[in-house]
Amino acid sequence: MFTVTVHHYLVVSAILFSLGTIGVLTRRNAIVIFMCVELMLNGVNLSFIALSHFLGNMDGQIFVFFVMTVAAAEAAVGLALMIAFFRNKESIDVEDFNLLKW
């Protein structure tokens, strides 16, 4: 009864993912939105590793490895985009991101 089950970890990961979603939808600073995306990725990573441990399968942890790779690439390109945008508009408020708006 008093052991940590896979459901505990999945609930924490669902909460973290939802917090990230709320952040992406409600914040306006592009860097904070970016951090909320990282939070969502980490929520998914937690459920991957929890399931990998409780199912006795290594594949979930390899997936987490690739998620981290993509997150690192995303950080590099995303922050470069923000610097390039800030150089043009002097702001990283997403309300000002309207260059491609139709």
Binding site: F2, T3, V4, V6, H7, H8, Y9, L10, V11, A14, I15, L16, F17, S18, L19, G20, T21, I22, G23, L25, T26, R27, R28, N29, I31, V32, M35, C36, E38, L39, N42, N45, L46, I49, S52, L55, G56, M58, D59, Q61, I62, F65, F66, M68, T69, V70, A71, A72, A73, E74, A75, A76, V77, A80, M82, I83, A84, F86, I92, D93
Partner: protein, 167 residues
């Protein structure tokens, strides 16, 4: 005891995750995010995945957050952002809460007891977690591994090109 520790770490993780989305200053959000990453690393250790905990701290807390803080300081974003309207705030929260409800429903209805793979805790302790990851990565996942290296190369080139002053 383990459950108590789990609840403590989970509480810190969720609280710092909440601070990430509520802090006015982006720097405070970044620090809270580091706290969340450390809590997740503790979870990974509890799940007998020490290698994942190590790269969680090295890659996320060590590299990505440092990059984010570096950019925040470079852009000098000290001023608080204009808050969104309460309208959009409410809608965002509603969508997030609905998503959490949906996930909880799936978790409650899900069952993971019937499937069991070959990796056990004793095996991880005996062979070593890093060795197991390496075996899986360089046999079954060799092609994705190579693709990931190309992705990183493209990201390096893209970041350099994007930040050039004139293209």
């Amino acid at each position: 005891m383990e459950l108590l520790f789990f609840y403590l770490v989970a509480l810190v993780a969720v609280l710092s995750g909440f601070l990430v989305i509520t802090c006015k200053s982006p720097i405070n959000s970044a620090i809270s995010l580091v706290m969340t990453f450390f809590c997740l690393a503790i979870f990974y250790v509890m799940l007998h995945a020490p290698f994942m905990a190590a790269i969680q701290i090295m890659v996320y807390a060590g590299a990505i957050i440092v990059l984010i803080i570096f950019v925040i300081m470079l852009l000098n974003l000290g001023t608080a952002e204009k808050a969104r309207t309460t309208h959009s705030l409410a809608w965002g929260s509603v969508v997030g809460a609905l998503m959490m409800l949906l996930a909880m429903t799936f978790i409650k209805g899900g069952d993971t007891t019937s499937v069991q793979g070959e990796i056990t805790n004793e095996m991880v302790a005996q062979v070593g977690h890093t060795e197991l990851i390496g075996q899986a990565m360089f046999t079954n996942f060799l092609l994705p591994f190579e693709i990931a290296s190309i992705l990183l190369l493209v990201a390096i080139v893209g970041a350099v090109v994007l930040t050039k002053r004139e293209v």
